[in-house]
Symmetry: C2
Amino acid sequence: MKTREDGVAATPAFLPLYQQIKTLVLRGLQEGEWRPGQAIPSEVDLAARYRVSQGTVRKAIDELASEHLLVRRQGKGTFVATHDEPRMQYRFLRLMPVEGEVEYPESRLLACRRVRASSEVARVLELKVGDGVVFLRRILLFKDDPTVLDDIYLPGTVFRGLTGEIFNEYKGSLYNLFETEFGMRMIRADEKIRAVPAAGDMARLLQVDQGTPLLCVDRVAYTYGDRPVEFRRGIYRTDRHCYRNTLS
Amino acid sequence: MKTREDGVAATPAFLPLYQQIKTLVLRGLQEGEWRPGQAIPSEVDLAARYRVSQGTVRKAIDELASEHLLVRRQGKGTFVATHDEPRMQYRFLRLMPVEGEVEYPESRLLACRRVRASSEVARVLELKVGDGVVFLRRILLFKDDPTVLDDIYLPGTVFRGLTGEIFNEYKGSLYNLFETEFGMRMIRADEKIRAVPAAGDMARLLQVDQGTPLLCVDRVAYTYGDRPVEFRRGIYRTDRHCYRNTLS
DNA sequence: ACGCATTTGTTCGTATGTATT
DNA sequence: TAATACATACGAACAAATGCG
């Protein structure tokens, strides 16, 4: 196979061409050549740049679009996905009213401080125990009902300078903030869900009795290249809301 | 647009061709022209049948494959998806050990009888209150630990003849049984998850104290055409296992 | 063991349609 | 209206995996 511009033996030659193109585009996203919300070059431009046909670029972009890393808009171009748009705003929020319309929560910050990574936090964020970590605690309210208590841990080096003020002044979702203020785009998250009894602060903040069953949702969110950049433990009241999921 | 074999004004003409082809293939699946596990005609055959190019058929099949309705196998053909294969066997089972390897559960049937649809069951299965329904209760054990208690409701007309004997003799998953014995293929399921306290039978069967927090997973499973054909209420112990989910 | 036919997978090229600016 | 960009559709060729004789 003939050598290509960026293809300086960086990608194995035995991969399908469109996969190699996909990797190259992914690298552009990762390195910030194109930023969230911005348009990437047109298909013909990319085809020229990488010396392949438009159809090959198209197939690469198709896959990235199906993974929600890019968004195609007919007549306008292909854009780097962002948590900014209303549709993407609450893409990772699975809590819905048991009955009725979807609602969006109000967020109230309870704590924002620097801490040292515990062994658990260090493990999931791939840090060393004792590394600097930003700790956030917030509560989400649906129609003034306290419903979610989130404890959030972020790598200190990535989120250097994050303060309660920044959080409070920001309009929009947390992942939106990460993206615009810290250039850190969340593309995937794994969750582990268990049922736990309300205890201590939890019960008081969510206004339920001690021992009330609650959902405990441990989330690890990843940016490009499967790099973990958020550990979040969410405690959910599920009397008026429930966690929704579609299997397919 | 010129008229086509099956295209007797059944599908609106303003849809893209490949979408129309997709609808036609879907109809074939729905009507059982090709059964689970079987191969559908090759791309060139389908292209000839529908009088379109191979590329157009390919795009239709691509979408059906991405929805897990078809499975492509290079060199062999394209097959109707089935719950039979090991990989698909436990596709809808989201319960995993908190630590360690994936395990597959043993199933023990506790009840199998005909009942009348309650208002809740009638609503989700789109039946009338009082219609005949098959009720199954079973328990799932991981390494001999009782972990899941499932109450399952099925439309009586579709699952006429389902008995405890059939269930007990069958090797493989429940959806596998539905598919092979009743021609009913599950393609999608919606789940609503809440935390509930163990009560009554639940606590005894799962061997936990009364009031222990458990997951309550309400599932509605659908076959082709978004037709609901199963309502299942699962109660999960989450001390040794957790419900896993990936957001993307 | 080998070659051949079949089937999907990849890649290219071209033309036309549709949405946006 | 014109230019641009993605969307659809067709056709052709070769690669890779499979199965059969």
